[in-house]
Each structure stands twice: as structure tokens, then as C-alpha cells.
Amino acid sequence: MLPNWFIFIISLLYLGLLFAIAYYADMRADQGRSIINNPYIYAFSLAVYCTAWTFYGSVGRAASTGLGFLPVYIGPTIIAPLWLLVLRKIVRICKQQHITSIADFISSRYGKSPFLGGIVAIIAVVGIIPYISLQLKAISNSYGILTSFLGSADPSGQSLNSFFGDTAFYIAILLAAFAILFGTRHLDASERHEGLVAAIAFESIIKLLAFLFVGIFVTYFLYDGFGDIFTQARRLPEFARFLTISRDSGVDWDQWVWITLLSLLAVMFLPRQFHVSVVENVNEKHIQKAIWLFPLYLFLINVFVLPIAVAGLLHFPGNTVDADTFVLALPLAEGHQWIALFVFIGGLSAATSMVIVATIALSIMVSNNLVMPILLRVRALQISRSKDLTRPLLMIRRGSIIVLVLWAYVYFHVVAEYYTLVSIGLISFTAAAQFAPAIIGGIFWRGGTRNGALAGLIAGSLVWAFTLPMPFAAQAGLLPGSIVTEGLFGISLLRPYSFLGLEGLDPISNSVFWSLLFNTGLYVVVSFASRASILEHSQAVMFIESPWYTAREGRYQFWRGTSSIEVLQSLLTRFIGEENTKKAFYEYARIHETDWQQQQQVDQEFISYAEQLLTGAIGAASARAMISSVVKEEPISVEEMMGILNETQQAISQKKTLEKKSRELEQATTELKQANARLLELDRLKDDFVATVTHELRTPLTSVRAFAEILFDNPDLNTDQKNNFLNIIIKESERLTRLINQVLDLQKVESKTMEWELTDIDFSEIVVESFEACSQLANEKNVTCETAFPARIPRIPGDRDRLMQVMLNLISNSIKFAKDDSGKVSVKIAVKKNHLRVDVVDNGIGIGKKDQQIVFEKFRQINTPDVGKPAGSGLGLTIAQRIIEYHQGSLWVKSTPNKGSTFSFTLPFERQKENALPT
């Protein structure tokens, strides 16, 4: 058995490693060599979605509901394809506006309302604290199992438990320290926390490895694979629940659908998911890879859940061991302490990563959306007088981290001990889902107003509180139990699990349905019924049209305000420090190519820039309040604003049209370029053709003239010699005639002036006649000729003489190139469905792969070193191809060097109409 202190030391060492990784990543970031600027790290950091709930709770839920654990992971898989549409837009908006949390996002969209931001922050804190405490509970449970499993620990088990309570406390404190060190480094929360992200990604890798490890161990070492586990499981009394989804197995279709919907919202709008996926996003391109990597991660971490659950039930019959701890209990029961230790580390990484990110995300909301607005309001005079607010700001954020972690710790001791991991997790999911209508409506629907969002959020969260946490509190004995059974004030319509008399849904589905219905319904209805302020209008435009604005264009004006540079500088210095302020001003001057130190008055654009800097540090609402306290602003009238909006709208639509036009133009340009290239190529070919023709004509002409001159100069040559020379002259003139005929033929075919005589012909006759015509040549080379026809060949439409020309050309070519002594040429005709297929096969030298394309080109003859330039004009195959093409067939060659070539062509039985011909 592993001693208690040993496990404690290992946990500390693991946390120490996290500190080291985070420290290293931050150091690299300061040097400008980021290690997290990478889509894989981004995808792994998204896996903070998988908490201790996944690591321990999934197996527990699988043991009690079979496949009922899956919808929580299927939901994110379903929504992932839409990330390019939704998540990317949110990321872009947050970068443009320096938004650092969900509360700020919602508050900023609806006119930078401090009240709305505060409400969101409260919902987030109340909803997420139980979830954090759940992680602490998981750490403590796993720790307990590891040290005292099956009572085999030391006799002082009782004292261990009390000591262990302190251990979880220490771990909580260490996590708070981590969050403070790496989550509150900068004042501007819109600066990324690279160390944090690196550590979270590392933890995601560790928990995946640990879970796969124990999964493979259980499935393939304790059992003989998936099939074996399920076969052995047939003897379990609860076996049926692993096979199907049904009411008896503990999860029915309602629950399946509602939890899928719930988790696909939660994966985007849980504060920690929003933090890693939006605020910590380095580059919006990283979202693309995450779209498939993140579902793959979820797939992998879930494959072994059901086998482990089944194996646990087989090993520990009769509920002797809590199913939430099977992953630890199985290796321990088999005596593999080290595997159990690795699993424990995996669970620790799952729990700690969630605690760290969730507390940082919540602390930003608490400080920027709860504490700051209150401080600015209640003690406005003192705040505006104090010279340096950077330190108090950081202290607020750090203090809120400590308070949140301690709160979660206390909650764990008071309430969370009574419930399973999953039930608490789903309560938090439902709370996070309340943000969905305001956010999704906010980025796609311009009509959503502050009042609508406020009404929806408040109604949704009240229904949530009434239908989920309240009955839990009643079950824990904090409230009278009659509320659950008889309803609030004894009104049966107000029973939390059958809200408004809706029977038959389980508590989670019931709550998801009612809370989202009230939330969305009121959001839409109240939005229609209320008017948006000017600021709401302008923010709505900026959010919805975000893809069309660059950061600079985004700061356009709905206010006419002026201020002096000193006032703004001193305001910013108080909140973000002197150095950061100067840096930001220089940056602005660099982009706008102005010298800010020379200016006295600044324009609205500069004021907006300053406001966004402040937003990163203290939230949108407080930033607006601070700016308007130092800037003399007169809001423009509604008419003016609508005018500006229209103009912008026109500008945007013009921009869109322009982009479309330029794309079309680009396409047309490429097409023109290609056409031009084709023309140039044709021109070059024509030149080549003329040059080659001239050359080919001159060769025979030269020899005719040479021999004629010899005859002329030497009248006394003897008859034999004379005849010989005359013979040459005749042959060369014949060659000349043939060449000219071929050139004329080609010209006619290509210019489509050839006259064709189409008749129905029997192609086998053509083949036989061609062989006869070539028999002389074949005999000279000692080549054997064969033919193979089917008994009946349909007649085809064609020009008999031209097709004869093709066959003669192909056969004489084949004979020419066939092997000298054992040469063989065969012609096969095959009848296909709608065409004839003719193959002319020889066993000659063959044609190299490269040359197979060019044999059909004009005057291209293949020069092989050992054979030399073959006889002929080099036009035969070109003409043959043109003739076959005229007959709507095609001609091609297949060949292996030194084995022989096959020239094949097809001839259709029926001619298509002329105009249907491909040109």
C-alpha cells in the first residue's frame, strides 16, 4: 500500500511541475517566442471541458445509466462544426473590443450596461461554485480511495480522514496560488496568460493518457477485449441497461435529447470554456483544427468508459464500491498500485485544470463586473482621487480568487458531499446555458435589447434556481422537503420537478426546458417591446457586423466628444500604469502616423481607443463610466445616428459588392491569361508546323534536284545507273506528293472543310483489305498477321476511305516497328455496348511512357538511338486521330518498352448530332 505522505508528496510534485511549465511558458512569452501559438495546444486547452466529472463521474454514470453518460460529449461534437460560424465571430468581437469575460461580453453588447454585467457575474458565480467544489470533492475522494482502499490502509483510518481533509485544503490553496501567479500577471485581462494555457494543455494530455492507460489495462489485461467484457457481463442483473436506451436503463429519449442540447450550449458558454476558447485564443485560425481535434479528444476519452464501468460491476458486486471510483478501485483491487497512482495523477490534472481556469474566469467577472462598478459608484470621490489604482485592482482580482476557492471548499464540506459528481455538474451546465440566448441573439439579431437580455437572464436563472438547486437544498435538509413533494406554498403547479404541471420529465430535462423557454421567450418578447439606446444600437452594429470592421474602423463615432491628452493620460495611468499607457499611446501614434505629444485636443477616435484599453482592465461598463466622467461628450441625436448607421450599412454593402466584383475580376483575369497562353502556344505550334513542313519538303526536293542535275550533267551514264537515279527521283517525288497530300488532308480536317462520305460500313472488311494492302510490307519484314473478330459485327456509320486510311496507317506502323524476324501484328475487334473497339497489337520495341502522349503530335517521330529516325512524315497518327475524332470515337496507345504497343480506338454505332460534338 502506498503511504499517505508519499501520495501527498507526489501530488505536490505534480503541482510543482505545473508551476514550472507555466513559468517557462510565461518566460518564453516575455521573450516573444510563444509556445502556445499552435492549434494543437489550443485544442488541448479546450479539453479543460473534461473535468473530474469526466474522469471519475462518467464511469459512475455509465454504471447506473449505461450509455446515459454519452450525451454530455456528443453535444460538443455536434456543435463543433459550427465553430467557424459562431465561435470565430465571438473571438473577433472580443479582440476588437478588449472583452475578457462572458459578463463583459453580454454587458458590452447591450449598451455596456453595468447592471447586466453584474447579473451575469452573479449567475456565473452561483452556478459554477458547486462545480468547482465538485472538483475538490473528486480530489479528496480519489485521495481517500488511494490511501484506504478496502480498509487495507493503516489502523488509524479515522485520523487519516481528518488529516486528509486538510490535504484537500492545501491543494485548494495551492491552486489558488497558481491562479494568482499565472492568472493575474497583467492588469489588462485581455492580455493572454500563456503560462496558464500551457499548463492546462499539459494537464489535458496527462488526463487523456491516464484514462486511456487504465482503459487499456482493464479492457485488455484484466479482460480479453471489448467482446470478452460484454460477454462476461451477461451474468450481471443490470446487464440490460448497457444494451439500449430505455426508461428502465435510467436514461430515456427526453433526457438524451435535453442533455445533448444542454452540453452543446455549455461547451461554449461555461465561463471556463469561454475563457480558454475566446479570451486565450492566440489566432482565430486555430479554431479550424480544434473543430476536428476536440471531438477526437472526446471520442478517445470516452471509448473505455463503459467497459470500465462493466468491469467494475463485475469485480465489486452488490454496490460495495462507489462506481465513481472504479477507475482507481480496479487497479488497486488487482494489486497494481502504480497504475492507480498514475490514474490518480490523471484525475488530479482533470480536477485542478478546471479549478484553475474557472476561478480565473470568475475572478475577472467578480472584479470587473461586480466589485469595480460598486466601488466606482459608492465611493466615487475616493476612487477618482487616488493616484494609482493598478495595485488595488490586482488585489481585488487576487482576493476574489482566494474567496472563490475557499467558498468552493466550504461548499464541498457542507453540501457537495451528498451528491454524485454528474448531478452537480449538470446543474452548473444548466446555469451556463442561460447565457446562450443573450449571446447568440446578441451576435446575430440586431433587435435584441438590454431590457430583453435582462428579463431573459433573470427569468431563466430564477427558474433554474427553483427547479434545480432548491430541491437539492431541500434534500440536503436546508429547506423543508414539502417544497419538492407538494410545491412552493403548497401550490402543486410550483413543484420544482414538475414545474407548471409538466409531468414525466426528469429533473434536468425539466429545468433545461423551462429555464431556456422563459429565458428565450422573455428575451425576444421584451426586446420587441423595448427601445434600444443609442449606445445599444451602436454596440449591436459593431457586434453583428464585426467581420466587416477592422479594429480601427470599429471605433467610429456615435459621440462627439473632445478631451485633452493629459486628462486621458492621467486617467489611464491610474488604471493600467504609466508604462503601459505610454506604450499604448505610442502604438496609436505609430498606426495613425501622428505625434500624440504634439496634440492638445484629441478626437473621438482616440477617446474610443482609450476606452478600449480601459475595458481590458476594468470591464466595458466601468470603462464607459470613467471615460464619460472626464470627457465632455454630447451624444448625437437618434436621427443622426440612424444616418450614420445607414451610411455604414451602405459602405458595408458596397464593400461586399466590391469584394465580389474583385473576385470575379480576378477570375476573369486568370481565364484571359490562360486563353492568351493557349493562343501563344498555338501560334508557336503553327510556326513550328510551317518550319517543319518546309524542312520535310526540302529534303526530297533536294535529292530530286541533285539526281536530275547528275543526269543532266552526265549524258553518257550507263543505262543501269540512269535507271537507278531515275528510280530515286520517282520515289522521292512520290514521297513529296504523299507529304503534300497529307498536309492538305490535315489542313482540311483541322479547318473542317474535309468532305466526308458517310455510309454504313462493315469494319471487318476494312481490316481485311488493309492487311491485304500491307501484305507486301509484312512479307518483306517476315511479320505474321492475325485478326480476331466476333461472328457478327454491327455496321457503323463512317467514311470508308478515311477509316481505311486509319487502319492502313496503324497496321503499317505496327509492321514497321514489329520485331524483325518473329514479328507479330494482330487486329482485334470487340463489340461493346454502344461502340466498336479496335485494338492493333504488335510485339515491337514499344513506346516509352513519356513519348506515348507525343506520338499523336504533328511531325513528332520518336528517335530511338538503336533504331534511328523512322520512315514516314510524322503526320499519319495525327491525321488518324483527327479522323477517329470526327467519327466521335477516340484513339489512344498503351505500350511497354521492348514488349510491344497497342493502338486502340473506338467507333460509336450511332452518330450524335453535329452540334452536340465536343469541340
Binding site: 450509455l67 454519452l70 456528443i74 461534437t77 455536434i78 456543435i79 463543433a80 462544426p81 459550427l82 467557424l84 460560424l85 471489448f226 467482446g227 470478452d228 460484454f230 460477454t231 440490460a240 448497457f242 444494451l243 439500449t244 436506451i245 430505455s246 429519449w253 438524451w256 435529447v257 445533448t260 479550424q288 483544427k289 473543430i291 476536428w292 471531438p295 477526437l296 471520442f299 471509448v303 463503459l306 473576385r663 461493346k832 461502340h835 473497339r837 470515337g889 477516340s890 489512344w892 473506338t906
Partner: protein, 78 residues
């Protein structure tokens, strides 16, 4: 049409496809106590469908980099 817009449309299509695959009523087709190589049918189906979605997402997202892989183009015979 613009390549990016096409990809976006394909992704929306996959979103709808995933909803169909992982939902009532398609799931009821596989909701039977049948075994495939000893493994319950529904379990097999869910993970196979999940893997299919991941592969399709991979293809849609990484299409351009996959296209750069060498391919043999054979002339098709008539």
C-alpha cells in the same frame, strides 16, 4: 463560388448530419439488444458514428492539405 463559403456550408451540413445521427429517431434503429462481435449494437453504432463525424470534419477542414498528396490519374477506358 468562394472556397471558404463552400467550406462553411459543408460544416453546417455536417452539423445537421450529426444531429440526425445522434438523435431520436435514428438511434432507435440501433436500439436493440443485438451483439456485434460480442459488443452491444448501440455502443458500436454510437462510437462508429462519432468516428465518422470526426473523419468528415477532418476531411472538410484539412481538404486543401490533403489534396497536396500525390495521386495517380489513369486515363479511363471507354
Amino acid at each position: 463560388m468562394n472556397i471558404r463559403a463552400r467550406r462553411l456550408q459543408k460544416l453546417v451540413g455536417l452539423f445537421v448530419f450529426a444531429i440526425v445521427l445522434f438523435n431520436y429517431p435514428v438511434l432507435t434503429i440501433f436500439n436493440r439488444a443485438i451483439f456485434v462481435a460480442g459488443i452491444p449494437l448501440l455502443f458500436c453504432y454510437l462510437f462508429a458514428a462519432w468516428f465518422l463525424i470526426v473523419v468528415l470534419l477532418l476531411i472538410v477542414i484539412e481538404r486543401r492539405s490533403l489534396l497536396h498528396m500525390p495521386r495517380n490519374i489513369e486515363k479511363s477506358e471507354n
